[in-house]
Amino acid sequence: MPGIQSDRDEMARSYADRHLRTDAGIRSIYYLPSQAADREIQFIEINELLATRDKDPLEPIDFDVNVGAESSYSLFVLDVTPSQWEKIQANELPLPDGWTLDGAIHFTGEE
């Protein structure tokens, strides 16, 4: 559904802009649209201020931003440290089920 897709991309851009603006620790955000459900936005946020917790599995937070509204999207954010991000890229740390880097869109707040 192209209409939903472009609307979702727009919402994703808007959430990413806000997160990059409000959290000094976030270095960049990857938006993963390819495997996400139509009304789901998946972000990986690379955060330099997070404490390292290597023993914990990667778990996204459901922001539950707009439940009940007709135009609602679920926003899931996976917080990772820069070193965890390096491991993800090297396939040493698995992403949660249903998450893939294929087709990921990179937001840095610099564009």
């Binding site: 917790r53 707009n66 439940v67």
Partner: protein
């Protein structure tokens, strides 16, 4: 609020009550920091239970909690900002980055995040050969919280966030709540019409007048 949130909020309120007591009595800093860290951590967790599913186990949820509030749609966002003491949603959004580093410092006080060698408000450190203890340690984060305007404001916002929690924690949007109330009113209205019609018919029968008149 769902039942999970209610339970978490009860715990947050209790922890916050102890924090206020410690603050009033001028308790040793480590104890105030310990409770402050627990309040912020549990407040975030209480909020993220709004989906009905358990939030991640990590401690790093207070900054996420503030961002999740900021990500809510209007007019809810403005109402939340007002509950937290801001005149406008934009003021709340501008405030978040100013306290983010401080909020992360606060989160890192949790012993599981502070690591074996870091200052934390509960146990002497380093773990294998303790050289410092929380009761006598001068926490830099405490100076930032109490001696800077943004630190004191963060404390006030935390107090307000605990007190106002039921007003913004619910998962139902304002539009949905409005829709549900309208639906219920419509049912009540229909019931009233049926009742009045039945009453009119009963009176008509009692007076001998045909009820269709």
């Amino acid at each position: 609020m769902n039942s999970y949130q209610t339970l978490w909020w009860e715990q947050v309120r209790s922890d916050h009550g102890v924090l206020l007591m410690l603050r009033r009595q001028g308790a040793v800093v480590c104890h105030q920091l310990h409770y402050l860290q627990m309040v912020t951590e549990k407040l975030g967790k209480a909020y993220f239970w709004r989906t009905g599913k358990p939030p991640p186990k990590s401690h790093a949820s207070f900054v996420r909690f503030l961002q999740a509030l900021d990500d809510r749609q209007e007019p809810v966002r403005t109402r939340i900002a007002e509950h937290l003491g801001f005149a406008r949603a934009v003021d709340f959004e501008k405030w978040i980055p100013s306290i983010t580093p401080l909020a992360y410092d606060l989160e890192r006080l949790a012993p599981s995040l502070a690591g074996d060698n870091g200052p934390n408000p509960e146990y002497p450190w380093p773990r294998l050969a303790p050289a410092s203890t929380p009761a006598t340690y001068e926490f830099a984060v405490w100076s930032l919280l109490t001696e800077s305007g943004r630190g004191r404001q963060l404390m006030k916002v935390i107090d307000a966030a605990v007190a106002a929690f039921p007003h913004y924690a619910s998962s139902i949007s304002a539009a949905t709540a409005y829709g549900q109330i309208r639906q219920q009113l419509s049912v009540v209205r229909r019931s009233a019409v049926v009742f009045l019609d039945a009453k009119r018919r009963a009176l008509a029968i009692a007076s001998g007048t045909p009820h269709w008149q």
